[in-house]
Amino acid sequence: MNYIFDPAAAFAWCLEQLRTLATLVHLPVMAGEWVGSFLVMIGLFTVCSVIVMILVYGERKIAAHMQSRLGPMRVGWHGLLQVIADVIKLMLKESFVPAAADNWIFRAAPYVVFIPGFMALIAIPMDRGVIPAHVNMGLLYILAVGTPGVIGILMAGWSSGNKYSLLGGMRSAAQMISYEVPLVMSVLGVIMLAGSLDLAAIVEAQKVPYIIYQPLAFIIFLIASVAETNRNPFDIPEAESELTAGFHTEYGGVRFAYFFLAEYVNMFVLSAAAVTLFLGGWKGPFLPGWVWYFAKTFGILFLFMWFRWTFPRLRSDQLMDLGWKVLTPLAFLNLIVTGLVLVLLK
């Protein structure tokens, strides 16, 4: 059996081995499944971390080459181990809580930002039949579990007891709420085409990638995702020239690492969602599905990085104008046109 071309079978095989193992050590089969899902979680977390490491390394290298520099070169071959060195450094640093901070909220905030991204990731299909957790209303699930992240950022901003953090947190939350509207509205066109909220079904429904039918929605989704992840050109929440580092000003050590992790996981989730909704998910010729899935996702992520090192930062009011006066009406227009066309074609 070729597990490279059939990760679903590979997954099933792993579970089967676990079940056998459980019966061997006289545990009920049920426990095997629990251990299985626990291992899936651990595995996913590892995958997450690896992806983030690749992204961080990629970002630094891409940034450097766009600016005619070399980027990290010293640790390992072409600086490959630089990220690992950074992680070790962050882990070893003291996790500091400022005196003015609201202790519990300050400590909890990084995890509140990270967990939603991670939870969203588990519902996105990586290949036919390979979804860590299959949710019937996958799309709604991603949108819903993603929302508490905003609260985490507000918690961080408020609990630091620092005006830069507070301003950063407020800006970030305002931005994320504003851009959630066009983000969700742009997705509705896809739902109408596919007639389902199930992400796997949406991928299966795409005879041609939906970007052909919904180019406007794709562009809106892309812009809104950049804003949702607070990245340049929409990075006013952490505009270092005015706000030091926004809501992570007071954070260091492992907690800072979690914010970092969360930002990249969120980027990955939104890119993966864009791939699933508009680019046909795992579908593609010749190569196995999961390769296509990762290739497309990293393609979108490359776009994100390209944006970052190309566009200047927007002002706060320009950002709101773009969201409310351009993207939201366009998203509505797209929805109306899609609906009309669907009704007329029927």
Binding site: N136, L140, A144, P148, L154, W158, M170, A173, I177, L197
Partner: protein, 161 residues
């Protein structure tokens, strides 16, 4: 078994965070407790197979209501120590009345024979019902939202400029 345990755990979490919500004097903590309570209630709904309702609850309460609440607390300018000015003088009466209500309603609800044979409602059905039997309220909600939008803007704008 698993579901039952999670049901009770989540319910307990919802009750505890709701109690914290009404007793804490730090407004921001209260709003965050509301977020936890909403998430717990959404979890309870998940254990009862009401997936759609749970997700919408998270989307609306955690995504919108709580975030607006946090905004409001921050914008009122008391973000350093957002404590309520005074304690509730009617605390004891409030406790007695709530307990009486809980006992009464709890008694009535427990006395009710359990509803059985419920079928899981798919999202398809919900959508179709909203656009057939319940199309009037569904459309009317849009006017409610329009009125709320217009009215809030007029009031927030304050003096005519």
């Amino acid at each position: 078994m698993m579901t039952t345990v999670s049901f009770y755990l989540l319910s307990a979490l919802a009750v505890v965070s709701a109690l914290f919500l009404v007793t804490t004097r730090n407004l921001l903590h209260a709003v965050l407790a509301l977020a936890v309570a909403s998430l717990a209630v959404a979890g309870v709904m998940l254990t009862l197979n009401a997936e759609f309702l749970a997700l919408v609850l998270i989307l609306v309460y955690v995504g919108a209501v709580v975030v607006l609440g946090v905004f409001a607390v921050m914008l009122t300018g008391h973000f350093k120590k957002p404590t309520l000015p005074s304690s509730n003088e009617l605390k004891i009466i409030a406790v007695v009345v709530s307990l009486a209500l809980v006992t009464l309603l709890g008694g009535v609800i427990l006395g009710q024979p359990a509803v059985t044979g419920l079928k899981e409602v798919s999202l398809d059905t919900v959508g179709k019902l909203l656009l057939t039997d319940y199309v009037l309220p569904f459309e009317l909600v849009s006017i409610v939202l329009l009125a709320a939008l217009v009215g809030s803007i007029v009031i927030a704008r304050g003096k005519e400029d």
